[in-house]
Amino acid sequence: MASPELEIKNLCHYYHGKKILDIPYFQVSQGECLVIIGPNGAGKSTLLRIASLLEKPAEGEIFFRGTKVTAQNELAFRRRLVYLLDRPLFFRGKVKDNLLYGLKIRGVSKKEQAERLEEISELFHLHSLLESEPQELSAGEKQRVNLARALIIKPDLLLLDEPFASLDLNLKDEIMAEFQAIRKKRAQTTVMVTHNREEAFFLAERLAVLIAGEIKQTGPPEEILSLPHSVEIASLLGHESLVEGSVVGQQNGLLQVAAGSNYIYAFGSAERGEKVKVVFRPEEVILAEEKPQTSVRNWFYGQVVEIKPMDRMVFVSLDCGFRLKACLTKTALEELKVAPGKSFWAGVKASSLSARLSTAKKAEKDSDEN
């Protein structure tokens, strides 16, 4: 495993005398995308600001690549990272000036400024916006410029506070995909906080669950989703099933994804051979004893491994080569005589599934690193 870019040890932080963060150990590996998920008020933003060296923790030590941060080297370390606030705020001047801010501050030569500006404008499709004032931009453009002005710096560590929260759904998909592709290409070490499950599932290579100032569980999102340590974590993350596979075919935007011995049909934009993640919502999974003739594209056969009653509904987990959760009413459960060990067909419409590029595997370092 890659060595840690950032380590935080014995962190305690207080607000108005109340302990809001208590984290004995926290680390971010080089090249990974770590997503911190937690409910509002869990201390996500505070943790991020402490990791960004913008706020001093009451107790605790911070290390970058093994070197402890002190008052003397703080600025040098702060310049190796970039932190973006939860909404894009711009300086007076044009988009171009805002993009170059971080480079100017670091004393980067004019020639290199121009090269990097060109490169980042290309990546984020910003050429037509460079001479505009940031206030003239739409919400999506603003967020693209915001991400671009962080990535232009090529920081060792990028810290993002709810970067996609203010965007509507279509825009969010588009900008997340754009960001994801660049992040992957550059193997950009990233820490992101969010309270949005979908964002977390798709972007995270590793997920950390922060509840009431404590990190309750860390691991790959698939693992935490299928084996949450507590009911608290389960209810925070929901009951979605997350499956990873590779694209083997594509037609009219409908992807054929191979996952184990199954094929999953889902919508998304990805090329043949690319790894994608597919999220199944349990409310959209139906169970049947025989495979019926319907328009539903996805049918998986699997054995019931777990039955969990919750409120008026029951969650049934099937092992179909991957773990798939279905949500049934109690009546349906009785009528179908669902019991552990029995096998069922689980069906999901392709139109209720979306596949997104995953970063979990093969982070290719390529030409633009040099």
Partner: protein, 227 residues
């Protein structure tokens, strides 16, 4: 041509007026900014009192300032040995004291208007302390230039302080305001009126320059209509 002063003499008066008030405004600006930055970034007990004193200072009566400076520079005063009384230097000192609180007070008010989260973002993009202050200064440019405009307008038009510490010595410390006073006192209304027009024209010209600097690069996106 008006009697009493030659064209050359008028030109000298204009030159001295611009020199004294311009230099005083510039020096006041350089002395006021660090204090405004300090008051913005540092919170300490007594900060509000200092800000109130500065705000009060924006309306200091020029004669009172003239008196204070005169007391210090008088031959037997604490700084009497510098022999600055009745020199342009004394006039610059008095006008700095008049201009300084205006620039410091208005700049600080302009700083407070800048979104503090924007400054946090500047730090998060790697700004050092000094670069943070520069960024703040740039964001608050509009208000700072308003301070310069107000201060320059106040000192070029005041007569009390320059009269007291300059003495209105012909060819040495006579500026437009004291010259107008002098000419009016001896009934030379034509010349007084001419000098007054020159003073107004200079004020207008300088303010045009400062205003176009102030409005340069100002956000131009559509503003709400006035209906």
């Amino acid at each position: 041509m008006a009697q009493g002063l030659s064209a050359g003499e008028i030109l000298n008066i204009v030159r001295l007026t611009l020199f004294v008030s311009g230099l005083a405004t510039l020096l006041a600006f350089l002395l006021a900014l660090p204090v405004a930055f300090f008051l913005y970034f540092r919170h300490f007990p007594g900060r509000k009192i200092i800000i109130s004193l500065i705000n009060t200072g924006m309306g200091l009566p020029p004669v009172v300032v003239g008196l204070m400076v005169a007391l210090f520079l008088w031959r037997s005063g604490p700084l009497g040995s510098l022999k600055l009384m009745y020199t342009p230097a004394a006039m610059v000192i008095a006008q700095i004291i008049l201009a300084w609180p205006i620039i410091a007070g208005l700049s600080l008010a302009a700083f407070e208007q800048v979104n503090p989260e924007l400054l946090l973002q500047a730090r998060a993009l790697g700004a050092s302390r000094f670069q943070l202050a520069l960024t703040l200064g740039r964001e608050a440019r509009l208000g700072e230039i308003s301070g310069i405009i107000a201060a320059f307008g106040a000192v070029i038009s005041e007569v009390g302080a320059v009269m007291m510490v300059g003495g209105n010595i012909k060819g040495q410390t006579r500026v437009l305001t004291t010259a107008i006073l002098q000419e009016t006192r001896i009934g030379n209304f034509h010349l007084a009126l001419l000098l007054a027009l020159i003073l107004l024209a200079i004020s207008l010209a300088i303010n045009l320059m400062l205003t176009s600097w102030q409005q340069k690069g100002l956000r131009t996106w559509p503003r709400p209509s006035w209906k």
